[in-house]
């Protein structure tokens, strides 16, 4: 499978059938609390748009959507004026919910990596999500916790944001299916600084592990506090911890034994094609890519490949994306009929010596396929 992806990338020029010029604006949060993730999205998309398949030229403009639904919708309406073939849409669930009706009116496919479950459940044909949804990633997280770490009495710690609440529901669901009720649950505001009370309560509740679903910064604070207090419990974190910019703030020792779910781990460079992506990303942005960047890259590339194969109108592209399959760098993407394109997640673990994680498990959500 990965070899095919690599081949596709290398032989993209040969497979070009039509020459086309398309507009594909990038609308992502560049300010506000999701700016880090938004920057990953932007970089992944730009990398794809600046190296399109042969015969395709892509025009793109980058626009900040902030964090409010209203600004995101304005940005989409504005982009719609340029007759785009599709847009790269923000990963913030509330913004996506607001953009969906507009996409429907304007008939523009949205390429996003938002994990919020609800966005593909609105019956909207123009949504394409290239990141495994929360159900997929959280099932992977919970299965890994139960199967590999032997977790029986987990504490669940999550964020009060959309990302956190959405993931929390799926975690609790997955645990329930295995007959497990968390011994302790706590929702944290992103501004919480000191994690000692949470850890103390988890310990007092008799937790044997922490299942964490926090954004990058709070995840890092939690790991630091856990290491400092000698917590000694297994920690299985969410995709927030897979971002290199977050990991760089932690000492390798603080990461020892910590695992996290994500869609892919480009810095782990599991394949030559992934290594190629990693090198290209580092050259262009002088930073390390995360799973969000790769997913947005894959998603954008899938759209550009479809254009190269003749889907040069939004309608044709929508059709191509909803029916086709694409072997990307992280996984093979194919719609489940609702616009969910990604159906597998990975678990990465840190060995305590390096900041580069190892991919220790792949999970595919069979039910969704």
């Amino acid at each position: 499978m990965k070899r095919i992806a690599a081949c596709l990338l290398l032989t993209a020029a040969a497979s070009a059938a039509h020459a086309a010029s398309v507009t594909l604006p990038v609308l992502v949060p560049l300010t506000g609390f999701l700016a880090v993730e938004g920057a990953s999205q932007r970089n992944g998309a730009i990398l794809a748009l600046s190296t399109p398949p042969a015969g395709v030229t892509a025009k793109y403009d980058v626009s900040d959507t902030g964090v409010s639904p209203e600004v995101a919708v304005n940005a989409l309406e504005r982009a719609a004026g340029d007759k785009p073939i599709a847009v790269v849409a923000p990963m913030l669930g509330t913004q996506m919910l607001a953009m969906l009706p507009v996409a429907m009116e304007q008939k523009i496919p949205l390429l996003t990596i938002s994990g919020t479950a609800a966005i593909t459940r609105q019956g909207n044909p123009y949504i394409f999500r290239f990141f495994p949804d929360d159900a997929t990633t959280k099932i992977a997280q919970v299965r890994f916790a139960l199967e590999n770490k032997g977790v029986k009495k987990p504490a669940v710690i999550y964020q009060t944001t959309a990302y956190g609440q959405s993931g929390h529901a799926e975690i609790v669901n997955a645990l329930k299916k295995a007959g497990i009720v968390p011994v302790y649950e706590e929702a944290l505001d992103v501004a919480v600084k000191d994690m000692a009370p949470v850890l103390a309560k988890a310990r007092a509740a008799g937790a044997d592990s922490l299942i964490v679903h926090l954004h990058g910064g709070p995840s890092a604070l939690l790991l630091k506090a856990a290491a400092a207090s000698g917590l000694g419990l297994p920690i299985i974190a969410g995709s927030g911890l897979s971002q290199p910019s977050t990991i760089n703030l932690l000492e390798p020792a603080e990461l020892a034994g910590v695992c996290a779910e994500t869609s892919s781990s480009p810095v782990s460079a599991e394949s030559p094609a992934m290594q190629g992506f990693l090198d290209a990303y580092r050259r262009k942005f002088n930073a390390d890519p995360d799973g969000f960047a790769l997913a947005q890259y894959d998603g954008t590339m899938m759209a550009l490949e479809a254009v190269a194969k003749g889907a040069t109108t939004p309608a044709a592209l929508t059709q191509a994306l909803s029916s086709g399959s694409y072997a990307g760098l992280a996984m093979t993407y194919k719609s489940n009929g609702r616009g969910d394109m990604a159906h597998s997640a990975v678990i990465i673990c840190y060995d305590g010596k390096s900041r580069i994680p190892k991919v220790v498990a792949h999970y595919t959500n069979a039910a969704a396929d």
Partner: protein, 578 residues
């Protein structure tokens, strides 16, 4: 409407026409969003502009309205119009609940209290996932429907929103026309005067707060059907900051300011969108520039550039209905025959004794002169009688009824009027309106006509249409006295009415005051100017260090050894160095 305001509205209308003509769905959508913010900002002007209280909960009222409408649409399929009673009613109820503990707080304390309440509402919305969908919010809310008719995005939606804005603006202008607008101006600029002319400041602030919430709730319900998702973002502080910015940039008063401010503040970042990450930086810089350069907002700046034409002619004097005569008041006096009875009134400030048990009586038709050195407690006495300051001990009876500790506006309604030591008129208000505002229970047109009669009585009818700000001191004094008379008081308390008047003006004022007494009113006049006071007063009383030291005819009091000592002092018992 003032020319500057009309000009601003014209600019907005021109931009709107452009947006409709261009017809791009982007331009129309941004214009629609601007309209929604304009509505919320018009509401915000009630509490922040009219009542002058820095509320930081307007954003949350808008958000609560949005949630109410959104949740009703999702759970019960209620359309925008059917849900309106709730999307307006819920924020109003919230405002009422909040008002009880915090509305009496001033300036930053009120601001912080409303900010904290906003934070609590936001936390509840995030935590109560079953109802609100939590931080994820809920999507799939339908567009605006009116009587079952869906309103399409694009120009129909923009038109609907802006019709609502026009209705809201008209309602706001109608509510604040005439008496109400002037009443709020007095409350904002001189709260003590508001009470003294019978305005219930607490109720007015509450009304402004509730109106703010109602407008915000309405704007919120539009918002949720335009954005078509409910999410906690609408409850967040950025929305509040946007509304505050709109009103500061547009203008705190006048719907034109709110509307123009909203269009500018909402459109500006969109115009700068090509600057990408620099957009908000430039926005911040422009905001700073405007606040520094145009303190009164766009409206204020334009009003300087476009002064109003000559005001319309005042109501004709001849047509003025006469005020009810002031005579026949003696019958209302208490059993003792006294209209006002002050018994043992005492008041301390910190450790300082301002009044130490003063007893005084005043008959109808009598002029009592109250003298005493600076700091002897004269003004405190008047403040205690009129309800501005609560006495520590003692009673005040007026026309037989105990009015001790009664709120200032109730005292005013009971028939006691006063003037202030420093003339307290609203600079931006006309002389006529300044007086008419104090006419109780009268429609404003009649009140204005009656005010003309009073102005004429004090010899200032010719300046009725001038704004108080530019008037000479003597004229301001007379306007203030006319305003006090507009209450048709049975007792008039004048605090240094002659200060700053020249001798001709003093003589004139004295004559007019005697005329009032002859009509049956009782007058208590605080004055230092003996040349003015002695001929005017029937009796005089002298306070020193909070105690009554003399009472009697003017001649008796002026000749009293203790009075002379209080004023002129004894020579200091110190020897000069050789």
């Amino acid at each position: 409407m003032r020319r500057a305001d009309a000009m601003l509205l014209l600019c907005v209308a021109a931009y709107g026409a452009y947006a409709f003509a261009a017809g791009s769905s982007y331009t129309l959508r941004v214009f629609s969003v601007a309209g929604i913010y304009a509505l919320a900002a018009i509401g915000y002007q009630f509490i922040f502009g009219q009542a002058g209280a820095l509320s930081l909960s307007q954003g949350v009222f808008m958000g609560v309205g949005a949630y109410a409408s959104g949740i009703l649409a999702l759970r019960f399929g209620l359309g925008f119009d059917a849900a309106l009673p709730f999307s307006v009613g819920v924020p109003v109820l919230l405002a009422l609940a909040v008002a009880v503990p915090v509305l009496h707080l001033r300036t930053h304390y009120f601001a912080l209290a409303t900010l904290i309440i906003s934070q609590m509402v936001l936390l509840v919305a995030v935590e109560w996932q079953g109802l609100t969908g939590g931080a994820n919010g809920i999507g799939g809310i339908g567009g605006i429907t009116i009587l079952g008719m869906p309103i399409r995005a694009g120009w129909p939606l923009a038109a609907t929103v802006w019709v609502c804005v026009a209705l809201g603006a008209a309602l706001s202008a109608w509510l604040m026309r005439g008496r109400a607008g002037h009443a709020y101006a007095v409350l904002r600029e001189h709260p003590a005067v508001a009470g003294a002319i019978g305005l219930d400041g607490g109720r007015m602030r509450l009304a402004a707060f509730v109106l703010s919430a109602a407008f915000a709730g309405f704007a919120g319900s539009l918002y949720v059907h335009v954005i078509r998702v409910i999410s906690p973002d609408v409850l967040g502080f950025p929305v509040m900051v946007t509304l505050l910015t709109i009103v500061m940039i547009g203008g705190r008063l006048g719907v034109a300011g709110a509307v123009a401010g909203a269009v500018l503040v909402i459109e500006l970042p969109e115009w700068f969108r090509p600057l990408r990450e620099y957009t908000l930086l430039v926005y911040g810089a422009i905001l700073l520039l405007v606040v520094v350069a145009a303190p009164g907002g766009l409206v204020g700046a334009l009003r300087l550039l476009l002064p109003d034409r000559a005001p319309p002619a005042p109501p004709a004097l001849a047509a003025s209905p006469a005020l009810a005569e002031l005579s026949g008041l003696a019958a209302l006096s208490g059993a003792s025959g006294l209209l006002l009875e002050i018994d043992g009134l005492a008041r301390h400030f910190g450790g300082v004794r301002a009044l130490g048990g003063v007893s005084l009586g005043l008959r109808a038709g009598e002029v009592l002169g109250l003298i005493g050195p600076n700091g002897s407690g004269k003004t405190t006495l008047v403040n205690c009688v009129t309800g501005l300051v609560a006495p520590d001990a003692g009673r005040v009876r007026f026309a037989g009824a105990d009015i001790t500790g009664l709120r200032a506006d109730r005292v005013a309604h009971a028939g006691i009027a006063r003037t202030f030591q420093t003339v307290a008129l609203v600079d931006d208000m006309t002389v006529l309106d300044s007086v008419a505002i104090a006419r109780p229970r009268t429609d404003f047109a009649t009140a204005r006509a009656q005010a003309m009669t009073l102005l004429d009585r004090l010899g200032v009818a010719d300046i009725a249409q001038r704004r108080c700000g530019g008037l000479a001191y003597g004229l301001r004094r007379r306007v203030e006295i006319a305003r006090a008379l507009a209450l048709q008081p049975r007792l008039l308390l004048l605090d240094e009415p002659a200060a700053g008047l020249n001798e001709t003006e003093q003589a004139d004022l004295s004559r007019r005051l005697r005329g009032l007494a002859a009509d049956g009113a009782a007058l208590l006049v605080i004055e230092h100017n003996m040349a003015f006071l002695a001929p005017l007063a029937d009796r005089m009383a002298c306070l020193d260090a909070g105690v009554l030291i003399a009472q009697g005819t003017p001649a008796e009091v002026q000749g009293d050894a203790r009075v002379i000592e209080a004023y002129l002092g004894r020579p200091a018992a110190v020897s000069r160095p050789a």
